[in-house]
C-alpha cells in the first residue's frame, strides 16, 4: 500500500482514521468515497488480504498440534486463548501477543485483541443483527444510564447502506424484536433445527430463525467488483477467507477505499496522543510511535475518526492531555473509560437428539441458529432482572471425537467412528449488560508499556442483574431443549469474566448532555467537534445482539455528516 508522506506536505490529510478494524475500515471507505484524502493509522503489522492468510488452505494434518492450544501459546496469548479456539495454531498468530502487550486486570477482563490490518474484523463470527427500536429507548424508559441521543429511525437507512455493502445472508421474519434487514438468500436450518423451530412456535410462540451472517451466499455486483466471491462452505473463516466470501475490512472496506486512490495506510504506528490546538480550539492531528523503532511522528488533518476499538479509543483519549483537557481528551464528563459493557456469554444447555438418522449435510455452514430475545418483551416481565438475551447455537451430527467419552476401543470401535454420529444440539445465551460507571478501564498512574504509554487497567465485573439473567439463560435453555423432545439435556455454565463476549463497548458514550456523555448525536466529541468516535466506545447501551453492523452504521452516518459539515465549512 502506497504511503505518500513526502507528497503530503507537513504530513497533512483531510482526515485521519485511527484503527483499521471493523469501524475504522468503514470510516475510511465512507470518507474516501466522499472525496476526502484519508490517512488510516494502524498500530499493528500489515496483513495483506488473501496473501497473508497463511493457514487458510492448510489441511488438518498440517497443524502440528491439530488445533489444540499449546502451553507456549497459552502463555504468550494469556488473554486471547481464554476464548474458544483462539489459542489454536490455526489462528493464534493473528491474535495479539498479550505477553508483549500486557494490560492490568484489577478485576479480570477477557480482552480479545487483534492488532493488525483489519483488526478483529478478520476473526469475527459475522453474526449481524439490527438493533430494535426498544434498544434505543429502554434506558430512558427504565431510568438506566442516560438516554440515547438517537433513535432507530436515525440509523435505519444506514443499516441498509451497510448491509448492502457487507452482504448479509438472512431470513426475513417480520419481527419487531429483531428488525429485518437487506438480506442475501438465507442459509438453511438443519432438520432437527427446523423441528425445534416449529416446536418453539407451537409451545411458546417464540420465533427461531437461521443466523444472519456476513457471508456471501449470492455475491452482488457491489461485492464482485472488489473480488469477493461466493461462500464455499468450508467454515474456516477465522483463518481468513481466500475467496473474500465473508466480510472484513480486509475483503471489503479497505479495498473499496483503495479504489478511490485517496487512502494511505500507515502500519506499525501506535497513535499515542491526539494533538489539541489551544488557539484554534480543535484537534490538529495525532502523534504516533512506531512500534518497531520507537520513532515518533506527527500527522495532521481537518477531522479525526477514532476507531481503535472501544478500550483503546478510551485509553487514547485519556492519554491525550492538554491545558484545555487536563483530565483526558473531551473528558469533562469524566465518563471516558466508564460504562464498559459487553454481552455475557458462556452459559446455556446441550442435548442429544434421537431420530433424524437419515438427515445429513454436505458442506459446513459458517453460521448458526438464532433465537431472538423473548424476555422482558411483549407480555413477559421478569422480576429478577432487566432486559434480555438471545441464543445462538445449532445442531450437528457428532464426529469421531464422540469416541473420547464413549466406551470401547478396537476394530469395531474404529470402524463405527467413521460414520456420522447422532445429532446433538447446543444453545448459548448472549445477554445484555447494563451501563455502570464503576465498570471501567483507566490508565495506570505509573506503569508504562514498552513504548512509554501508560498501561490500561481493566476494572469491571458482572453485577446482580447479570447473574439473575444468567440463571434464566440456563433454565430457559434447558426448558426449550426439553420441550423440543431432546434427550440428555445438560445445562452448562462456563466460568467467565466480562470481555469474553468480545463486544466491549460504552467507554465514551453518546448522549445529549456534555455533563454526562462524551459524544453528541453525530458521534462528535462534545467539546471538540472535529473528533469523531464511531467504534463501540460510542454505545450508550448494549442491546443483546451482536454489535458490529451497528458500529458500521453509526460510522457511515457520522462520516456523511462530517463531510457535509466540512463542505459547509462548519468544521
Amino acid at each position: 500500500m502506497n504511503l505518500n508522506i513526502k507528497a503530503n506536505k507537513n504530513n497533512t490529510f483531510d482526515a485521519i482514521v485511527v484503527g483499521s478494524g471493523m469501524s475504522g475500515g468503514f470510516a475510511a471507505k465512507e470518507l474516501t468515497e466522499r472525496g476526502l484524502k484519508v490517512l488510516m493509522i494502524e498500530r499493528g503489522h500489515e496483513i495483506k488480504h488473501i496473501e497473508d492468510y497463511d493457514t487458510a488452505m492448510q489441511e488438518p494434518w498440517d497443524f502440528e498440534h491439530r488445533g489444540k492450544t499449546t502451553n507456549l501459546s497459552a502463555e504468550e496469548r494469556w488473554a486471547n486463548s481464554r476464548f474458544w479456539g483462539l489459542g489454536s495454531e490455526e489462528v493464534v498468530n493473528h491474535l495479539t501477543n498479550d505477553k508483549e502487550n500486557p494490560y492490568i486486570e484489577k478485576r479480570a477482563f477477557d480482552w480479545i485483541r487483534a492488532y493488525h490490518t483489519g483488526g478483529k474484523s478478520m476473526h469475527w463470527g459475522r453474526q449481524s443483527y439490527r438493533w430494535g427500536k426498544h434498544d434505543f429507548e429502554s434506558n430512558a424508559k427504565e431510568g438506566i444510564g442516560i438516554d440515547w441521543p438517537i433513535r432507530y429511525e436515525d440509523l435505519e437507512s444506514w443499516y441498509t447502506h451497510v448491509e448492502k455493502f457487507v452482504g448479509i445472508s438472512g431470513q426475513k421474519e417480520g419481527l419487531e424484536v429483531l428488525p429485518d434487514g437487506h438480506f442475501l438468500p438465507a442459509m438453511p436450518l438443519f432438520a432437527p433445527e427446523a423441528h425445534f423451530k416449529n416446536k418453539m412456535m407451537e409451545r411458546f410462540n417464540r420465533p427461531v430463525t437461521v443466523g444472519r451472517v456476513a457471508n456471501l451466499t449470492q455475491p452482488q455486483d457491489i461485492h464482485i467488483v472488489l473480488g469477493r466471491a461466493s461462500c464455499q462452505y468450508r467454515s474456516k473463516c477465522q483463518r481468513g477467507c481466500p475467496y473474500g466470501a465473508y466480510y472484513s475490512s480486509l475483503s471489503g472496506s479497505i479495498p473499496a477505499a483503495m479504489r478511490t486512490n485517496r487512502l494511505s495506510i500507515l502500519h506499525d504506528s501506535i497513535v499515542a496522543e491526539i494533538i489539541y490546538d489551544e488557539q484554534k480550539k480543535r484537534a490538529s492531528g495525532v502523534r504516533i510511535i512506531n512500534q518497531n523503532n520507537m520513532l515518533t511522528e506527527e500527522y495532521f488533518a481537518k477531522i479525526i475518526f477514532l476507531n481503535a476499538g472501544s478500550i483503546n479509543t478510551a485509553a487514547l483519549m485519556l492519554n491525550s492531555k492538554s491545558n484545555r483537557f487536563q483530565n483526558g481528551f473531551g473528558n469533562e464528563s469524566d465518563q471516558i473509560g466508564r460504562n464498559l459493557m459487553d454481552h455475557q456469554l458462556g452459559s446455556g444447555a446441550t442435548a442429544s437428539i434421537e431420530g433424524f438418522e437419515d438427515d445429513y449435510v454436505y458442506g459446513q455452514r459458517p453460521n448458526a441458529m438464532y433465537i431472538p430475545r423473548f424476555r422482558n418483551w411483549g407480555n413477559d416481565k421478569q422480576a429478577a432482572y432487566l432486559r434480555g438475551f438471545g441464543y445462538q447455537g445449532g445442531a450437528s451430527r457428532e464426529g469421531w471425537n464422540r469416541g473420547v467419552g464413549a466406551d470401547g476401543f478396537g476394530a469395531d470401535f474404529k470402524q463405527g467412528l467413521t460414520k456420522p454420529g447422532a445429532w446433538a444440539i447446543s444453545i448459548g445465551g448472549f445477554g445484555e449488560i447494563l451501563p455502570n460507571p464503576t465498570n471501567r478501564i483507566y490508565l495506570d498512574a505509573e506503569k508504562k508499556d514498552k513504548w512509554g504509554i501508560p498501561m490500561i487497567v481493566t476494572d469491571a465485573a458482572f453485577v446482580e442483574n447479570d447473574w439473575a439473567m444468567r440463571k434464566d439463560i440456563i433454565a430457559s435453555a434447558v426448558e426449550m431443549l426439553e420441550t423440543a423432545g431432546f434427550k440428555n439435556v445438560t445445562p452448562y455454565d462456563r466460568p467467565t469474566h466480562m470481555g469474553l463476549g468480545i463486544h466491549d463497548m460504552g467507554t465514551a458514550r453518546m448522549g445529549r448532555d456534555p455533563k454526562t456523555s462524551v459524544l453528541n448525536s453525530f458521534n462528535q466529541v462534545h467539546d471538540c467537534k472535529n473528533v469523531f468516535v464511531t467504534d463501540g466506545a460510542a454505545m450508550t447501551s448494549a442491546s443483546c445482539v451482536n454489535p458490529s453492523i451497528t458500529y458500521m452504521a453509526l460510522t457511515a452516518r457520522a462520516a456523511d455528516f462530517a463531510v457535509k459539515a466540512l463542505k459547509k465549512k462548519d468544521l
Binding site: 474456516k236 458442506g363 455452514r365 464422540r402
Partner: protein, 180 residues
C-alpha cells in the same frame, strides 16, 4: 499376575476426573486459565514409549485401513503431552504407565491386554479428581492423532477440502462421514 492384583493396580493408578467429552475448545480455555506450570521437561522412557504404542494400537488397530502406529500416533502422543499439557496431566500419564508396568502389560498377550484396558475404562469412570486420568488422555490423543492424520483421515472419512455448496442431504446406507 492374578486378576485381582491387576484390578488393584489399575484402580490405584487412577487419579483423575472422568468428565464427559467436553468440547475441545473448553479444554483450551481450562488450559489457558490454569496456573502455568512449565511442562517442557516431559519425556518418556523407551519402555514407556512401547506401552503407549501398544495401547494406542489396541485403541485404533490396523485393519484394512492403517492403525495408530502406521500414522505415527505414539510419537504424536508424547509430543502433545509435552507441548499442550501441564504437570498434573504429565503426572497422571506417568502414573498410568507405572501401573501398566506393574501389571507387566508388555508381557501380556493381546487378549489379556484388552482385558486390562476394559478394566481401566470401567475404573476410570469412578474417578472424581480434577486431573484428566491416564485412560482418557491416551484415548483422546490416540483418536485426535489418528483421525486428523493424513492417512487416518483419508482412510476413515470422505475428505472434502472445498465443498463449494451447502446442501441438506439424505444419508446413504453405510455412508462415511465427511471431513473438511
Amino acid at each position: 499376575m492374578k486378576r485381582r492384583e491387576v484390578i488393584k493396580n489399575v484402580a490405584l493408578m487412577l487419579g483423575g476426573v472422568f468428565s464427559a467429552p467436553t468440547l475441545m475448545a473448553m479444554d483450551n480455555w481450562e488450559n489457558a486459565t490454569k496456573p502455568n506450570i512449565n511442562g517442557a521437561a516431559f519425556s518418556l522412557t523407551e519402555t514407556q514409549q512401547r506401552i503407549v504404542a501398544e495401547i494406542a494400537e489396541l485403541i485404533i488397530p490396523k485393519t484394512n485401513t492403517p492403525g495408530a502406529k502406521d500414522v505415527g500416533v505414539p510419537a504424536f502422543i508424547e509430543m502433545m503431552l509435552k507441548d499442550c499439557y501441564k504437570t498434573p496431566e504429565h503426572q497422571s500419564f506417568i502414573d498410568g504407565l507405572d501401573s501398566m508396568g506393574k501389571v507387566k502389560f508388555l508381557e501380556l498377550n493381546t487378549d489379556e491386554r484388552r482385558g486390562v484396558l476394559k478394566l481401566l475404562e470401567q475404573e476410570t469412570k469412578k474417578i472424581t479428581s480434577k486431573t484428566t486420568p491416564f485412560w482418557r488422555l491416551i484415548k483422546e490423543l490416540t483418536l485426535l492423532g489418528y483421525f486428523t492424520s493424513e492417512a487416518g483421515l483419508k482412510a476413515s472419512f470422505e475428505y472434502v477440502q472445498i465443498p463449494g455448496k451447502l446442501e441438506l442431504i439424505k444419508l446413504k446406507p453405510n455412508q462415511k462421514a465427511y471431513a473438511y
